[in-house]
């Protein structure tokens, strides 16, 4: 673990209220370069709110958020972050895949200027990473749920980010597509991407996860190795007292994600 390196994301003592009710209370967390952190918890535990407040989409009541060492309020380097919102919250059915992924380049483009060759290349690269290069001209509504999810990942990748934030990418996606999704994320990890992923249940993504943060009623109840099963996730007493021996075994047997090297894709973006 690269605990010595600068974190790409750090939150300290974060509290968030929605409609006057406390939703998050005193949350502190860090995500390091090349690390995959899973944010787990039941319905209403505050996972999605936490991700939204880390990205400045939901106002923070108390505490601080730093992205790449800069305070959220002063952070302007948004192309270093790729955001994959929940698929169900957006309305993109009629648009083409290439148009949607093309939106991901807008952080690099000036208004009234047509897309450059570099923009088109980045769109092509992003679609290739998620295995949908042959679907660029398809309409979003003709794709399956899992494919739509990969289009949204490609859109986030088009900006060539260093930190990818995914909000429930496996929700409503069948097991087969979840495995494809896991392969896509594994490839991104191999390239040195840091990933923060909100999950309702762990599923096929579990071998990729370096660290799990479990939320319960707006508080962090666990920050460490992945809980062994969903039932443990919803019962933090067992996580703290009974689950650790098993966890050690499972974690040792799983593949260790690579943390090496800068992003290959980033070199292209800076040239």
């Amino acid at each position: 673990m690269e605990s010595g390196s600068d974190p790409v994301l750090r939150a300290e003592d974060l509290s968030v209220e929605l409609g006057g009710l406390p939703v998050l209370r005193g949350i502190s967390l860090t995500v390091h370069r090349g690390e995959t952190v899973a944010l787990l918890g039941g319905n209403g535990s505050g996972k999605s709110t936490l991700v939204r407040s880390l990205l400045g989409l939901t106002p923070v009541r108390r505490g601080s958020v730093q992205l790449f060492g800069t305070d959220l309020a002063r952070f302007r380097d948004w192309s270093r972050i790729g955001y994959v919102p929940q698929r169900s919250t957006i309305n993109l059915t009629r648009a083409k895949v290439s148009e949607i992924v093309g939106s991901g380049r807008l952080g690099h483009r000036l208004p009234f200027v047509p897309p450059s060759r570099q923009d088109r290349q980045a769109i092509k690269d992003a679609l290739e990473v998620v295995g949908l290069a042959d679907r660029a001209t398809a309409e979003m509504q003709h794709l399956s749920g899992g494919q739509q999810q990969r289009v949204l990942i490609a859109r986030a990748l088009a900006t060539r980010p260093e930190l990818l934030v995914l909000d429930e990418p496996t929700a409503g996606v069948d097991l087969e597509h979840q495995r494809i999704l896991a392969d896509v994320l594994a490839e991104l990890l191999r390239r040195g991407m840091a990933i923060l992923v909100v999950l309702h249940e762990i599923g096929p993504l579990s071998p990729l996860v370096d660290r799990a943060i479990v939320l319960r009623e707006g508080r962090v109840v666990h920050d460490g190795d992945l809980p062994r099963s969903t039932s443990e996730l919803h019962d933090h007493h067992r996580i703290e007292h009974g689950g650790h021996e098993h966890l050690e075994e499972e974690h040792a047997s799983g593949p260790t994600p690579s943390v090496a090297g800068p992003l290959d894709t980033r070199n292209g973006a800076s040239s």
């Binding site: 990205l55 302007r76 148009e99 991901g104 897309p115």
Partner: protein
């Protein structure tokens, strides 16, 4: 068609209809994407207050109505961004307050509601040369950002949160959309009218989405449909001696009605499973066993593009003009 071009007022009316037909569906594409289809209707009501104010003060109606409607649209958007307009009640008060104020001011000006009606449903004879200049200039003012900022406005309209994390100035773009919509609504009052303009913003977009795929293709197609029905409706209303707005909207709905079965056919062609029955004559004679060539992917995979075909008791996959059937570890040609 040639004879009506001889009248100067018809030349102006047809040009105004051309501008309206271009603008309304263009800005309507973003409004529909944001699921605010009835925003245009509300802004039309606000513009009526502007017309009433112009009648009361003796000013030219279009510039006054543009100012009032733009101010109203910015107010609506700021309320929405602050989360204050979620209950729709604030919007309803603003929109219907606008309508009521317009009617009252028109009455004080001595014209009553009759003076307003030419602005509600359009009026061919009312486009003055001065109006046409204002409409032409403002049409260009609206069209340049509507087309030039299309990628930004599309991204913001489709997924506001993602656009914000891209670092785009989302609030500014949202205000640009409603201001452009407000100008478009007001310019349309001479042709399609303030009560019917919302239909011209929404219906051609819906028809275009049935006919073509992709946001930008639909944007262009919607503008083409908008020009067609606006100019056609304005010309037709000359012969019918009717308010042009009604005929423009009827034409737009006819285009939509025609586009509906077209989209159903396109969707069916894309999805329908084909069923091939086994030949009935000699079921005992087995099909010759022809092995298919090697394969980059597994048929039936989530990413497999080849249409599945039910063939008797098994499934074939259509593959470059022939069919592949799974047989143990390889594919047979069927």
């Amino acid at each position: 068609m040639i004879d009506i071009l001889g009248y100067p007022f018809m030349q102006r009316a047809l040009l105004a209809a051309l501008f309206t037909g271009l603008l309304a569906p263009a800005i309507g594409s973003y409004i529909v994407q944001r699921r605010l289809s009835l925003l245009g209707d509300g802004l039309g009501h606000v513009a009526i207050a502007g017309v009433g104010l112009a009648l009361l003060t003796g000013q030219a109606p279009i510039p006054v109505a543009v100012l009032v409607c733009v101010a109203g649209s910015v107010l609506v958007e700021v309320l929405r961004q602050r989360g204050k307009a979620t209950g729709d009640v604030g919007l309803a008060i603003l929109f219907y307050g606008g309508l009521a104020a317009g009617v009252l001011m028109s009455a004080f000006a001595g014209g009553g509601t009759g003076a307003l009606s030419q602005y509600l449903f359009g009026s061919l004879t009312s486009v003055t040369p001065g109006d046409l200049v204002v409409i032409g200039v403002l049409a260009i003012v609206v069209l340049v950002p509507t087309i030039g900022l299309a990628p930004q406005l599309f991204a913001v309209s489709a997924d506001e949160d993602f656009a914000r994390v891209l670092g785009l100035p989302v609030r500014t773009y949202n205000i640009i959309v409603v201001v452009l919509a407000a100008i478009t609504v007001t310019l349309s009052m001479r042709t399609v009218g303030l009560l019917l303009v919302s239909a011209l913003m929404v219906v051609p977009v819906a028809a275009a989405q049935n006919l073509v795929s992709g946001f930008y293709a639909a944007l262009g197609t919607a503008m083409a449909i908008g020009v067609l029905v606006s100019v056609g409706g304005a010309a037709g209303s000359f012969y019918l001696d009717a308010a042009p707005g009604a005929l423009i909207v009827v034409f737009a709905i006819v285009v939509f009605a025609v586009s509906w079965p077209v989209s159903a056919i396109l969707a069916k062609r894309r999805r329908a499973p084909v069923i091939i029955s086994e030949p009935a004559e000699h079921p005992q004679i087995p099909t010759p066993h022809v092995l298919a060539g090697s394969h980059p992917h597994q048929h039936g995979d989530p990413d497999c593009d080849h249409p599945a075909v039910t063939h008797g008791d098994h499934v074939d996959y259509v593959h470059d003009g022939h069919r592949h059937a799974i047989h143990k570890d390889h594919y047979d040609e069927h």
